[in-house]
């Protein structure tokens, strides 16, 4: 009986496929008959531009890079192209495949309908978004905004109602300085360059419960940093979820007198109540969000009054659309925005457009140092301007349409995809897995 039923179902499904249709063989009885993309509902409302091509690039600055950039290029029948970024460390291949999975959602669609296409990709993927899909949608979303800005002849930050501050977007660099000498030099350079803020990682790896020696060492290192950089430079400390709530609550309390700008990810992000517990023990602002996807992923943290600062990343949260929505939620609760950016330059440049239009914007990260690196040189070679370098402590805004840059495929070809590399791993003394 079951077998007959299976055959009866299989027959017409196979016939559909043979005719080139996309109706899936309905083996479990739950598949929907799909409607063609861009159904008649929008007849007469179309912009006249249609998506004609989708390309995804893996870009490895070095052959063994553990974070190859994932760049998305969307082409239109009017010749306008858009660029976006969906870099996800350690998962480049998966994001590239996921971008390609959205091809049918996009080819032939109107690129100006960003919100509509975002909804389609997120909602109609059924499982909602994890980081791989969030990053893929982010790359596509940025490219669509780029196209829309170019077609409308406006920078994206103007489409979003900015800039709120014409001087540009305040940012911070990372630093590894830890000795008094290094910190004194860093302070000098910062003052010369007008840089007003730095972020450093908390040293070491942490067990579930920590010893007196380890806690004292961590607190002392942050004290040295404050003393070395002085009272007038903002300091953010990234715990990188290396600490459990039990350890983090001690540290956030003991470093309270240092008036840090924020402490980032004092514990991993899945358990909002666990982070709330840490936040209750200190007035030091708590920041988190770089691993969160879509505004849905941030809601509980914001509503429960856990965080002071939200750090969602334009390359994972859902692009410009996702970042703007998460920021809007945050703003309503009085939470400030300090978006994460530790990937490639396209996401970096895109996030500046959103920052420039946020009333609750605090500061923008860039994973670079106060002295330009080899990476900064490559970025400048790609774009023809020093992308993601600050002037007087701010990232300048360019008055060009879209995301404000041109990029050629040929310039990327010098850095071919070196394959997905696993992320770094760290282990404790007994060989057990450590958060890093």
């Amino acid at each position: 009986m079951q077998r007959r039923g299976f055959l009866a179902l299989g027959g017409p499904g196979l016939a559909w496929a043979a005719r080139g249709g996309r109706r899936p063989a309905d083996l479990c009885g739950c598949a929907l008959a799909p409607q063609p993309a861009g159904s008649n509902a929008f007849e007469g409302l179309r912009s006249g531009v249609a998506i004609s091509g989708l390309k995804v690039f893996g870009v490895s600055l070095t052959r063994d890079s553990d974070r190859p950039y994932v760049f998305v290029k969307i082409e239109t029948d009017q010749g306008v192209v858009g660029w976006g970024e969906g870099t996800l460390e350690g998962k480049a291949g998966a994001v590239m495949a996921c971008v390609n999975d959205f091809r049918d959602f996009l080819i032939g669609a109107d690129p100006m309908q960003v919100e509509h296409l975002w909804q389609s990709m997120y909602v109609q993927s059924f499982y909602r978004a994890g980081p791989v899909m969030g990053s893929a949608i982010s790359g596509i979303d940025q490219a669509l905004w780029d196209i829309r800005g170019k077609v409308l002849g406006m920078p994206v930050y103007k489409l979003l109602g900015g800039p709120i501050d014409a001087r540009g977007v305040r940012g911070y660099y990372h630093t590894n300085a830890s000795t008094r000498d290094e910190l004194a030099k860093l302070r000098e350079t910062a003052i010369q360059q007008g840089v007003s803020c730095f972020k450093a990682g908390i040293p070491g790896y942490y067990e579930w419960i920590e010893t007196n020696a380890k806690i004292r060492r961590a607190v002392a290192s942050l004290q040295t940093m404050r003393e070395g950089l002085g009272p007038d430079i903002d300091i953010a400390i990234d715990f990188h979820a290396k600490t459990s709530p039990s350890v983090a609550q001690i540290l956030v309390k003991e470093v309270e007198p240092l008036n840090l700008l924020f402490i980032e990810e004092p514990c991993p992000p899945e358990n909002v109540a666990a982070m709330a517990r840490i936040a209750r023990h200190s007035t030091t602002p708590i920041a988190t969000g770089e691993r969160l996807v879509a505004s849905y992923g941030c809601r509980e943290l914001i509503e429960m009054g856990v965080i002071d600062i939200l750090q969602t990343d334009i390359n994972h949260v859902g692009g410009i659309t996702g970042l703007w929505k998460a920021a809007s939620l945050a703003g309503i609760s009085g939470v400030s925005m300090a978006p994460h950016a530790c990937e490639g330059p396209i996401g970096g440049l895109a996030t500046l457009h959103v920052d420039a239009a946020l009333p609750n914007f605090l500061v923008q990260e860039i994973c670079g140092q106060v002295r330009p690196s080899a990476q900064d040189k490559i970025w400048e070679e790609w774009f023809g301007f020093p992308a993601m370098r600050m002037v007087d402590g701010r990232f300048p805004l360019r008055d060009r349409p879209g995301l404000g840059f041109e990029l050629s495929e040929a310039s990327l070809a010098k850095y071919p995809f070196g394959g997905t590399r696993p992320m770094a791993r760290a282990f404790h003394e007994d060989g057990s897995v450590a958060e890093w």
Binding site: E207, W208, I209, E210, T211, N212, A213, I215, R216, S244, P245, S246, Q249, I250, K253, E254, C267, P268, E270, N271, A273, A274, A276, R277, R280, H281, H428, D430, G431, S432, V433
Partner: protein
Amino acid sequence: MSMVTAHRRARLESFLAAQVAVAVSAQTANLEIDELRLYPVREPVSGRAWTVVRVGTRSGLAGYGECAHASSDDLAAAQRFWLARPATSYASAPADSPLAGAIDMALLDIVGKVAKAPVYRLLGGPTRSKARAFASAEGVGAGVKRAIEAGYRAVGVRVPAPAARNQGQAYQVELRKLVETVRSQAADFVLEGEGLLTPGDAASVAAAIQSLHPLWFDEPTTIGSLETLRKIADESVAPLGFGRDIRHAGVFQDLLRAGSLDVARPDILHFGITGSRRIAALAETYYVAVAPRHEGGPIATAAALHLAASLPNFFIQHIPLPAAAEDRAMRAQLAGGDLERVKDGFASLPNGPGLGVTVNEAVLEKYHAA
């Protein structure tokens, strides 16, 4: 290794694996439980008592576990449930039996022996190569010294017994002095409250010692109202450990949800390996570590070490370290001297299939607690 050798070795290994698979399925057929026995034992000097449970199968395998006290009625009920059931069905154990923890250990011991694998491997480990350990010091001076000399780097020290409810300044001074004495002898310590303090006193003690960074404050008070415990957790950052009075896993869930628990301490004699693993899985979602309570004998120590090597969120294992040499000798004779040996603060994982313990039944008879 040449390609040819590698290829040959791979073939040989797959052949051996097939042999093992056959052996296992043949023996599984004879794994019905046909014996369940209790051996109540007692350390001669300290009087610390526990019950060894022996489970036998039709195929002639024996597995051992430990629980606290169990009555003859409890034994009869357990026999009604377990006799003729297969030893592999350890997950079906009724949680409310006082023998549950012991039977869980014994069945895993048997399953490990059948599979010729240590229990931690059955459970997907090892997640670590050794297990951090601490011992409770009986008396600050000599007790701490004994633990350090035995290879421990962390000790448990009991709070001074309060003279009455709602202690004041004098008690705080005494406590600080105690903690400083311990600090001068051993870097790391667990402050053991043993439920002796009122919630108010527990909160003041936690606040007073938080900057001295004990590993955690254990059993700061007895578990009563959850809101009372939450107040202690809210008033300081000293990590809190609970488990002594907990007989239902749901209590751990309540404490975690209230944000009042930093170290989950399921009693290994009560929850066994499997019950503790379930609690650890819950604690993991709160980024909270597990440090099982253990006031039993060396078989439970072995079980706890296998548990530690099966968990991602194990932190430290309490191992009873009796003050009297005679008691320590009894434990060593019962299950072998290496099992409870600690070096540089860590215990080694037991070797051998199952729990990796060869139980000396003559010792069980000799120290029978009538």
